[in-house]
C-alpha cells in the first residue's frame, strides 16, 4: 500500500534530485516522493484510523527533506494524547466512558486518541504539559505532567519544591535503601542482602508510587522528626536518634551473606574433599575452629559463628607430588582449605545448601544472617536528598517532647535546610503530620499533589499549629525550650552503608610476603597507607623520629649482616655457627638495620648486573 505511492528511486541524474523527499524505511533509503509533507499527514492519519499498525512511527525532517518510517524492534516509545486543532482528542465524553469502564486503553489507541511516539517522531511533535496550555500549534498532550519523570523521580514526594541537585541525590539514595528487595529472599543465596524488619509505606505517596506497587515493597519507615540542634550531636549532617525507638524495632534490618565452597578437581584426577581436617593436615587451624562441623564437613543451621570459625571443612591435595624420604614414599600430606569466616562477619548460620556446580562438583552455599540494629555511624536519608549519619543514640527520657508527650525518633539539624533548599522535605513533614491526625494519606504527586494550603487546612481542622511548630520540653531539664520547634512525620530510609560492615582498625596484623610491609584493605586486616604527601608533612614539620617509626619501625624493618670488607650482604651459618660473607673468606660482618624494601632494591640492582656495596660507618 505504502509502496505504491513511493516511486522506485531512479538513477540519480543531477537535475532529477529536485525537491523530492527521500523516504527511508528502518534507516534504508527506499525511494522518493514528490510531496513529502502530504505523505506524512496521510500516513499519520491512517495510523490513527487504525488502517496502519499503531507501532509504526513516522518522522519528517523538513530541513533535509527526509522522511523516516520506523517499524523495527527496540525503539523506546511512550504514549501521548493526540491533539487536533488545539483540541485534545480525549474528550470529556470519552473520559466518562473510561471511568465507567466502557472503553479501554487499547480502545483509545484504536480510536486514535492515544498514540505512542518513538524518539524520532517525538522530534517533530510539540507537546503541551497541561490541557490549559494547548494552542493550535500543539500536536500532542501529555497524559499527566508526572509522566515527564522516570520511575525513580516520580515516586519522590513533592519534588517540585526541591532544588534539582537534591532530587538527583534523592534518586541515587533511594536505590541504596533497605526494604524487601525480593519476596523470596528466604530461598535465595544472594552474596549480600539486606531485609528490613518492619517496613512501612510512606504517609506521603505519589500517584505513580501507588501504581508501581511500591507500597507493598516499602523501603523505609515513617519517623517522627524534629528539626533542632541537639547538644551538638547532630552537627554536620549527623542525626540524633531515639534509643528506645530503636529498641522497639525502628530501622532494624537483617543482613544475609552467602559464603560458598566447592570441591574442585585438579589435573591428575585429584580433588578437594569436604571433611573435618585431621590435625596432621598442613595448615591445620585450632581444633576450636572446627567445632560446629558435622561429619560431612558442613556446619548446621542456627550455629552462632564468629570470626575464624570454619563454615565448611575442606582439604585439598598437596601442591607438589609425594616427597621421597629415606623411608621411601611418604604418604602425601593434605592441605587445609576450609571456608572460614572473616572477622566482622559474625552471625548465625541461616541455611546450608548442598548442590553441584556446573562442572559437576560438590558445591556448598552457607548463608550467615545477622541482625543490624541501628548504631552510631549508620546512614539514613529522607526522600529529599537529605542524608545523615547517626551521631548519638539518646535514651527517650533525655529526648525533647511535646506537650502531648510525643517524642521524636530522629533529630536533624536546622542547618541542613536553608542552603540545600529542600522545601519538599519540610512539606512532607507537615503533610505526613497532618495525615497522622486526619487518617488519610497525603497526595505528594509532583505538580498535582496536595498544596501547602490544603495541608494547613487539615492542621487547623484538628486544632493543631498550622505550620507544624510546637513547644518542646528539654528531656534533661524538663524546661520548655524558648523557641517553637518544627516537628513532624517524614519517611526515612535506612541506607545500606552500615558501620558494622565498614569499620576497621589495626594495631598489629599480617604483612605481605614480598615486601614485608603491612597488607592493604579491610578484608586483609590491612594498615592505612602512610603516603607520599603524608611523608612530606612529617619532613616539613621536622619530625624525623616519627617519620622513621612510620616508615621503618612500624613497617618493614629488617636486620641484615653486612660485610665490613666488601659491603655485600652476608648470612649466618648456623651449622658452623659463624657469619659468612659470600665474597670474602674471613671478614667481620655487622648487623645493620634497614627497610626490607631497600634489601629488595639491592637485590633488584644486582639483577641488573650492578654490584651495590654498603660502606659502613658508626652512627655519630
Amino acid at each position: 500500500m505504502k509502496r505504491k505511492k513511493i516511486r522506485k528511486r531512479k538513477k540519480l541524474l543531477p537535475g532529477a534530485i529536485g525537491p523530492r523527499t527521500s523516504v527511508f524505511i528502518n534507516g534504508r533509503l527506499v525511494g522518493e516522493h514528490e510531496k513529502g509533507e502530504a505523505l506524512v499527514a496521510e500516513l499519520k492519519s491512517r495510523r490513527r484510523q487504525g488502517s496502519l499498525s499503531s507501532q509504526v512511527n513516522f518522522y519528517f525532517n523538513r530541513k533535509s527533506d527526509d522522511f523516516f518510517i520506523n517499524t523495527d524492534s527496540g525503539r523506546a516509545r511512550r504514549p501521548y494524547i493526540v491533539v487536533e486543532a488545539g483540541q485534545s482528542r480525549l474528550t470529556p465524553v470519552l473520559l466518562e466512558q473510561l471511568k465507567k469502564g466502557e472503553i479501554t486503553w487499547n480502545g483509545l489507541i484504536k480510536l486514535g486518541v492515544i498514540e505512542y511516539l518513538d524518539a524520532e517522531e517525538e522530534e517533530g511533535a510539540l507537546v503541551a504539559l497541561r490541557e490549559e496550555n494547548l494552542s493550535p500549534d500543539h500536536t500532542h498532550l501529555e497524559i499527566d505532567p508526572v509522566s515527564i519523570f522516570g520511575v525513580t523521580v516520580s515516586v519522590l514526594p513533592f519534588p517540585e519544591y526541591n532544588s534539582s541537585p537534591r532530587i538527583t541525590m534523592a534518586c541515587a539514595m533511594a536505590k541504596q535503601s533497605l526494604g524487601t528487595y525480593s519476596v523470596n529472599f528466604n530461598m535465595r543465596n544472594d552474596s549480600r542482602a539486606h531485609i528490613m524488619y518492619y517496613p512501612q509505606q510512606p504517609l506521603a505517596q505519589t500517584h505513580p508510587y501507588k501504581l508501581l506497587g511500591f507500597a507493598e515493597r516499602a523501603a523505609g519507615q515513617n519517623f517522627i522528626v524534629a528539626i533542632t540542634s541537639s547538644y551538638g550531636y547532630n552537627i554536620g549532617d549527623a542525626v540524633v536518634m531515639n534509643k528506645n525507638a530503636i529498641d522497639r524495632g525502628l530501622g532494624r534490618s537483617v543482613f544475609y551473606k552467602a559464603h560458598e565452597s566447592e570441591e574442585r578437581r585438579y589435573p591428575g584426577g585429584q580433588k578437594d574433599t569436604f571433611e573435618i581436617p585431621l590435625p596432621t593436615t598442613s595448615g591445620y587451624r585450632e581444633e576450636k575452629a572446627y567445632r560446629f562441623l558435622g561429619e560431612d564437613g558442613m556446619i548446621s543451621p542456627e550455629c552462632e559463628v564468629k570470626a575464624k570459625d570454619a563454615l565448611v571443612g575442606k582439604t585439598s591435595p598437596p601442591r607438589f607430588l609425594e616427597e621421597i624420604t629415606v623411608f621411601g614414599v611418604i604418604e602425601e600430606k593434605k592441605r587445609e582449605s576450609s571456608l572460614v569466616l572473616k572477622s566482622g562477619e559474625d552471625g548465625v548460620v541461616d541455611s546450608v545448601m548442598l548442590t553441584d556446580s556446573l562442572a559437576g562438583t560438590k558445591l556448598v552455599k552457607v548463608r550467615v544472617r545477622s541482625t543490624k540494629v541501628p548504631e552510631v555511624g549508620d546512614k539514613f536519608a529522607s526522600r529529599h536528598g537529605q542524608k545523615g549519619v547517626i551521631g548519638l543514640l539518646r535514651p527517650q527520657e533525655d529526648m525533647p517532647f511535646t506537650a502531648d508527650g510525643i517524642v521524636p525518633d530522629l533529630i536533624i539539624n536546622p542547618h541542613a535546610i536553608p542552603s540545600r533548599m529542600t522545601v519538599g522535605h519540610l512539606l512532607e513533614m507537615l503533610g505526613s503530620k497532618a495525615a497522622c491526625y486526619s487518617g488519610n494519606l497525603v497526595d505528594a504527586t509532583p505538580f498535582s499533589g496536595d498544596r501547602e494550603e490544603d495541608i494547613r487546612k487539615i492542621m487547623k481542622e484538628h486544632n493543631l499549629e498550622e505550620f507544624g511548630e510546637e513547644t518542646l520540653y528539654d528531656g534533661i531539664t524538663g524546661m520548655p525550650i524558648k523557641t517553637k520547634i518544627f516537628i513532624g512525620v517524614i519517611y526515612y530510609q535506612k541506607l545500606h552503608h552500615l558501620v558494622s560492615n565498614k569499620m576497621h582498625v589495626r594495631s598489629r596484623g599480617p604483612v605481605q610476603l614480598l615486601t614485608h610491609q603491612p597488607t592493604e584493605g579491610r578484608s586483609r586486616e590491612g594498615g592505612l597507607r602512610f603516603g607520599e604527601m603524608e611523608r612530606d608533612c612529617l619532613i616539613g614539620y621536622g619530625a624525623s623520629m616519627l617519620l622513621r617509626e612510620r616508615l621503618l619501625d612500624e613497617s618493614d624493618k629488617t636486620s641484615l649482616l653486612v660485610c665490613e670488607k666488601c659491603g655485600s650482604i652476608g648470612y649466618h651459618d648456623f651449622v658452623k655457627n659463624r657469619d659468612n660473607c659470600p665474597l670474602c673468606d674471613d671478614s667481620k660482618l655487622e648487623q645493620v638495620e634497614m627497610s626490607y624494601a631497600f634489601k629488595l632494591l639491592l637485590d633488584e640492582i644486582e639483577s641488573l648486573g650492578i654490584f651495590p656495596r654498603l660502606i659502613l660507618r658508626d652512627k655519630a
Partner: protein
C-alpha cells in the same frame, strides 16, 4: 632570645618542603580554575600555564611583553609617547613594500609603497641599503622598485631569499612587533609592547631605563645578570599567584627562585634541571629515569653519601632534618 632571632628560621627547618607545599597547595586550586577558563582566548598566559613556563625555565615566554617607561619629557604627553612608540616598533620590508619573485628572469622584485614609506618615515634609498646588506649581490634601485638578482639559480634558494627579504628589519627595535601607549595610574604615559628586546631599549636615551620591565626572565639573565633574573623570577611568580588571589608568602617564591638561579644560570625544576642534579644517586634514581641513573652510577663507581632526605628514607634511617639533625656528643675530660 630577641624578637628578631625568634622570627628567623631555625637550623634544620625543612624550608624546601614547606615552600613546595605552600606553593603547591594553592596550585591545585589553580589547576581547577585554569581548566575552568579553558577556551577563553588569553593574551598573555597567566595562572598555571605561566607558572609552569617560569618553573620550566623556558628559553622564551609564550608571549614576551615589555613595559617601557619614558623619561619625564616624553611621558607627560600622549603625542610624544606615541612618537617614541612608533620609533620603537619594528618595521619589516613586507610592511612597506610588495615582494615578489620572477622565476623566469630569476630575480626578485621589491615594489615600495610610497604612502607606507611616508607614514613609517623611511626613505627609499635607506631601504635599498638594508636590502643590499642582506642580499649583497646585484641590487638595483630604480624609483620605487628594487630588483635583486640572486647569485643562485635554484628556485628553492630564491624562494628562501624572498622570505628572508620580507623580514628585513627596516626601522625600529628588533623583535618588538607591536606597541601600545597606555596611561599609567600616575597619569604618565608608558608603552606596552608585544615582544621583548631589553638590550636595545636600555640604550635608548628616551627610555627610563631604571623602570624598564620585561617578562622574559631568560633575557633578563642575559642582559642584566643572574641576580636580576632571580629578582625577576620572584616578581613573576608572585605576580601569577597574586593575580589568582592566592596568599603565598614571598619568601617561598624567593627560595624557589634562589634554588633555580644559584648555579649562575637559570635551571628548571625537574628532570633536566634541579631534580636531575641532586647529589645522591638514590635520590635521582627515586625521582625519574631510575635505571639510567643506577647504571651511570655503577659505571663510574659512584658513592652515595646519604646526605639528602630521600636517600635516608629509602634505606630507613632518620632524615637529616628537624629532630633528625641533632646528634649527641660525649664531652670527654
Amino acid at each position: 632570645m630577641t624578637t628578631k632571632s625568634k622570627k628567623q628560621i631555625e637550623v634544620g627547618e625543612a624550608v624546601g618542603i614547606v615552600a613546595a607545599q605552600s606553593i603547591g597547595e594553592p596550585g591545585t586550586q589553580m589547576t581547577m580554575r585554569t581548566f575552568h577558563y579553558a577556551g577563553v582566548a588569553e593574551q598573555v598566559p597567566t595562572g598555571l600555564p605561566r607558572l609552569i613556563e617560569l618553573v620550566d625555565a623556558r628559553k622564551e615566554p609564550k608571549k614576551p611583553i615589555m613595559d617601557i617607561f619614558l623619561k619625564e619629557e616624553y611621558a607627560a604627553s600622549e603625542e610624544k609617547a606615541k612618537a617614541v612608540a612608533k620609533d620603537i616598533e619594528c618595521t619589516t620590508l613586507d610592511k612597506v613594500a610588495y615582494v615578489e619573485e620572477d622565476f623566469e628572469e630569476k630575480k626578485i622584485l621589491i615594489t615600495l609603497e610610497p604612502s607606507e614609506l611616508e607614514t613609517e618615515g623611511v626613505v627609499a634609498s635607506e631601504v635599498a641599503k638594508k636590502v643590499k646588506a642582506l642580499a649583497g649581490s646585484h641590487v638595483e634601485h630604480k624609483d620605487n622598485v628594487i630588483t635583486v638578482k640572486p647569485t643562485t639559480s635554484s628556485l628553492r634558494n630564491i624562494r628562501r631569499l624572498t622570505n628572508k627579504l620580507k623580514q628585513v628589519h627596516i626601522k625600529g627595535v628588533e623583535r618588538i612587533s607591536r606597541t601600545l601607549v597606555v596611561k599609567g595610574k600616575d597619569g604618565k604615559y608608558f608603552i606596552r609592547t608585544s615582544g621583548s628586546n631589553l638590550a636595545t631599549l636600555m640604550k635608548n636615551p628616551k627610555v627610563d631605563t631604571e623602570r624598564l620591565y620585561t617578562n622574559d626572565v631568560q633575557e633578563t639573565a642575559r642582559v642584566l645578570g643572574i641576580e636580576a633574573a632571580r629578582n625577576a623570577l620572584v616578581r613573576e611568580i608572585k605576580q601569577v599567584l597574586d593575580m589568582q588571589n592566592l596568599n603565598v608568602d614571598v619568601r617561598h617564591c624567593m627560595l624557589l627562585a634562589d634554588a633555580m638561579t644559584m648555579g649562575g644560570e637559570i635551571k628548571s625544576i625537574g628532570r633536566h634541571g634541579l631534580s636531575g642534579e641532586k647529589a645522591g644517586v638514590l635520590a635521582r634514581a627515586a625521582f625519574e629515569e631510575t635505571v639510567k641513573h643506577l647504571i651511570n652510577a655503577a659505571t663510574h663507581g659512584d658513592d652515595d653519601k646519604l646526605i639528602g632526605v630521600t636517600e635516608n628514607i629509602i634505606i630507613g634511617q632518620t632524615v637529616p632534618v628537624g629532630t633528625g639533625l641533632v646528634r649527641l656528643k660525649v664531652k670527654l675530660g
